[in-house]
Symmetry: C2
Amino acid sequence: MRTISENRCFGGVQGVYAHASSATNCEMTFGLFLPAEAEIAPVPVLWYLSGLTCTHENAMTKAGAQKWAAEAGIALVFPDTSPRGTDVPDDPAYDLGQGAGFYVNATQDPWAQHYQMWDYIAEDLPRLLDTTFPIDPERQSICGHSMGGHGALTLAMRLPGRYRSVSAFAPIAHPTASDWGRKHFLNYLGAEESGWAGHDATLLMRERGFDGEVLVDQGTTDPFVNALMPEALAEAMCARRQPGAVRMQKGYDHSYFMISTFMPDHVSFHAEALWA
Amino acid sequence: MRTISENRCFGGVQGVYAHASSATNCEMTFGLFLPAEAEIAPVPVLWYLSGLTCTHENAMTKAGAQKWAAEAGIALVFPDTSPRGTDVPDDPAYDLGQGAGFYVNATQDPWAQHYQMWDYIAEDLPRLLDTTFPIDPERQSICGHSMGGHGALTLAMRLPGRYRSVSAFAPIAHPTASDWGRKHFLNYLGAEESGWAGHDATLLMRERGFDGEVLVDQGTTDPFVNALMPEALAEAMCARRQPGAVRMQKGYDHSYFMISTFMPDHVSFHAEALWA
C-alpha cells in the first residue's frame, strides 16, 4: 500500500491510498477518513459506495460527510467504482467498463479478469483496512449513491451480520427491470437472468430483507428516477415489514447537492446503529 | 354549541364541546386544544381523526399531542368517529356502526340518515370552528390513526388546497382491497365498487396525489398490518414521486403507545408546513 495524500480534516485525517488488489488484479485507489478518536482506539466505519462515472474522489470532496463523521467519531471509506488502468478493459459508454463496475463479479469476457468489484468491496479492501488502520470490523455500516446505493443494499442483504445499517441516496433499486442494470448484468454476468437476482435490491428485499434498519432518500425530480424505480423497493420494504424508511424528497435531483443535503441524516442514522 | 369541559393544559385550554350537526342529524362531541397563542390571534390547526371504536376522547387523553402542539403554537381538533345516540343505527360488530363511521357519506339504509362523516369533517365541523374559535382556516393540516389515517389521507387528496400537509399513523391504506374497508363500503356505499375508489388512499395517490408533503408511520409488528396494506400506498407514493416519507417502525404495534412515540415527529412535520 502506498500513501497518495493525507490532509488534516475536521480534526482527523482524510487520506488517499493505493494498493495492489488480488480481487481486481490491478492497483486500486481509495479514500479513508479517520476521525480524531482513531488515534486512541479503533473506530466504527461507514462505507460509501459511489455511482456511475465516479472514482474514490467524488464523494470525498463533494458529499460533505467528514464533518458529520467527525462529530460521530466514525471513519469513512470511499472505494473506487471499478478496476482502472490501461490494461483494464473499458467501453466508450459512460455506464460500462471503467467507472461502472456495478459491484458484481464479472463472469464474462473481457470483464472477468479485473471486474470483481463484489469481492473487492466484500473481502479485499476490508482485509486491508482491518490490518492497516484503527478500524473496528465489528462495527461497520454501508451506504451509497445510485449504482453505489445498489451496491450498498445488495451487499448488506447478502452479507448478514456484516453491516449494522444500510442507507442509499437515489439507489438503482430494481436493476433487473431497468436499463440501468440489464445492460450491466448482460455484459458482466451473461444472458442467464437467473444469475442476476442476487444483485437486485428489490428482489433481495422480497426474498430475505436486512437484519437492521434501512434508509432510502430519493429526489422527486431526479431526472433518472424512472430508471431507479424507488417504488419497487418501497413496496418490497413495506410488504416485508422491513424496519426503515423511504423518503421522497421534493425538488431534489441526482446530484451531490442532494447527497450533501441529506448526508447529516444518513450519518446520524448509521451512528445510532454503530454506537448502539 | 355547549361546553362539556375545559381544562388548562400546557399553557392553553383542552376543551370538549357538543353541537347539533346538520350533516349527521344528531349531537356531535369533539375535543379542541387551543394553545396560549390563541388568546392573541387566530392559530393554525391540526385535525386528528381517530380509528375504529374511538370517540373524540382517545387521542385527546392518550396521544400526548398537546405538549408538542403547545410548543408549536398549533390548535388540535379531535372529532368523534361516527354519529352517536340511541336513535342512530348501530351494529353489534366493533367495526360497523357507531364508532366506525369510516369518513364517508353513507348512501345505504339504515346508515344514510346519520352516517355523513365526510360532510361532517369536511364542512360541518370546520364551519363551526371557523365561526366560534380563534382558528385560521387558511392554515390547516390533518392527520389520523388507522381508520382515521384513511380519513386524513382521503380528505387531503380530495380537498386540494384545504390542508397544507397530511400524516397518518398505521393508516388503512388500501381499503377497497382489504377486509377493513370492503365491509364498510359495502354497507355504507352499496355494492357498486366504482363508488368506493374516492375513499381509497392508494387509488387516490395513483390518480391525483397530494399537493404537499405526506408522512406515514407504520409499526412493523402491528397485528393489523396485513389489513392496513402500507406496501400499496408506499408503492403508489414512490411511483407518483409524491413528496413525503413512509417509515416502517421496528417493533411498534397499533396502539396509542406507538402514536404517542411518533407524535412529536408528526406535529413538527405539520408545524413546518403550517408556519411556512
